[in-house]
Amino acid sequence: MTDLPLAGFVAVSAVLLGIGLFGILTRRNFILLLIAIEVAMNSAILNFVVFGSYWNSISASSVEGQSVAVVLIGLAATEVAVGLAIVLALNRSRGSINVAEATTLRL
């Protein structure tokens, strides 16, 4: 951690967030959307690890960032499980998981 500059990690997480948001806005396949959401979520997790490491290097009792990262990984997994359940139900009911085709609710 001491060798690599903090700004590098922050840049990576910013890029991850950008990729995730771009994917969420442009992808039409629900599975790819799930992946994009995961990428965006992981940018936040990476941030917590990086900044947690920074605060930990200053005060050894501060382990908040790492703990939060672990919890968030669990949360992300839960979210994907729910997303996949919705994908399965959608695929059964209409035989397609293309988000752009789901337009019954527009008037």
Partner: protein, 541 residues
Amino acid sequence: MTALPWTLFAPELFLLGAALLVFLLDSLGIRRLELFGGLATVGISIALLGVLADLRFAPLAGLATVPAGNVDVPWSPLNASLVVVTSFGLIFQAIFLTSALLVALASLSRRSDEKGAAIFFGLLLFATLGMTLAALAADLIYLLLAIEVTGISTYLLVGYTRRDARGLEAAMKFYIIGALSAALSFFGASLLYAYYGTTNLATLGTGFVSMFPSPLGGATGIAFLGYGFLLVGIGFKVTAVPFHAWAVDVYDGAPSDVSAFLAGGSKKVGLFAYFVVFLVPILASQTTFVCPGGPTPTCHYLHSTFGIPLQVLFGLLAVVTMTAGNVLALMQTEMKRMLAYSSISQAGYMLIGLAVATSPAIAGATLQIFAHVFMKTGAFLVVAAVAGFGIGSRIEEWKGVGLRHRWLGASFAAMLLSLAGIPLTVGFVSKFVLFSAAVQAQGWFVWLAVAGLLNSALSVFYYARVLRVMYMERPEVGSAPVPAGAVVGGSDPPALTLGGIGVGRATAIGLATAAVFAFGVYPQPVLAGLQMAADHLVQLL
């Protein structure tokens, strides 16, 4: 590090127990809607009584306090600084539980052969649990996690029928937006953590910079960016314009009972989060903090950095939200979509409280949220009940409903009049308190009250249009049966009792209607309690 007594968490434990019991019975093969519904209703009622007892018996001004924020307190489940019991939070718990109780009561009247009753009531309990936990938050991460518990339960709740294509499509949209909102919120939280080195809500934004330099050179831009991400992320939950588009599709596509819960209940979690996250920096910019031992390099002021910009942002958000919601509601031809846009505009009124950020304004916004539970939950429940008579969600199908189903029509009229803010209803009282608080605050806040008043006048048009259709127009003779697509999914009432809508649903609608008038005529006890809670909150933060 004093441990809070476990009895303070008795309401949550009852909700958790009821939820687990529902799923346990389901897996044992005991599948009776009355049983699940009864469990949910009893569990939520006990939790509500527990919360009311906490509010009544605990000294309203000092039940527990936010532990002094300390950067070096390690994050651990044993640390009491994760949760805090405030009267403000307890009032929100009561609001959430009331909405859940109305929905559970009404859902008792479903067809008893309906599949998925365990999923519905179990998820309803879990969503309510998440909401009540969120109301205890003293930590940003804890708050966002509790909101996610609600979020994940409600995504599934929207699509729980699994066969209804409209419900599934709504669930998909809700899920995508919810997950996006979670990612943005957590990213914002990570930036705030980077800047402050803590996630304690009372410490964030106070201006006490920690004892050590922030990474990234301590640029305040990082913190402001973090607040921006949180504003957008939670804004999706609140349905603030321009983050509102999903709400209309979801409320429209979800089963009406679920829409009632989303609009009346789970949306309020977002508003609570807005209050606890953003009031700290806003209030911190108005008061002068004294560093222990005077300002030193390790303790300096950053007040007034975020406060004014945030207030302006929320003022703009409030005006845009209420105006866009009302204008779009005017153009709707579907009842549920109109109610959804009306719900968005109501969120705009509530945001005024956050922009003004004085304790009367916070009390007014809370009263508005309190009133909205009865009005909107009740209105969606009536839509579900009316759907049981084969009357769809298009407004033109409602011709003569007020004459054919007198009690339902009268209840719906009461809800609409209250939403429009007509005197003698709770909607009038809450708007009056909120707008007068904005006027009292002077300055540019007066314009927020003016915008609110103009919007209230505008909203009368679309509510009155529905009333005219319901009471003045006669149903066409031999009017066409409801098109198959317009049937409100999963909420057809069962064997006809009590006016044909079922005892549970009739009770829920009756309670909501009674509350609209009772608190409209005699709001003093509630108002006094809210005022004390708001005062207390402002002092705490």
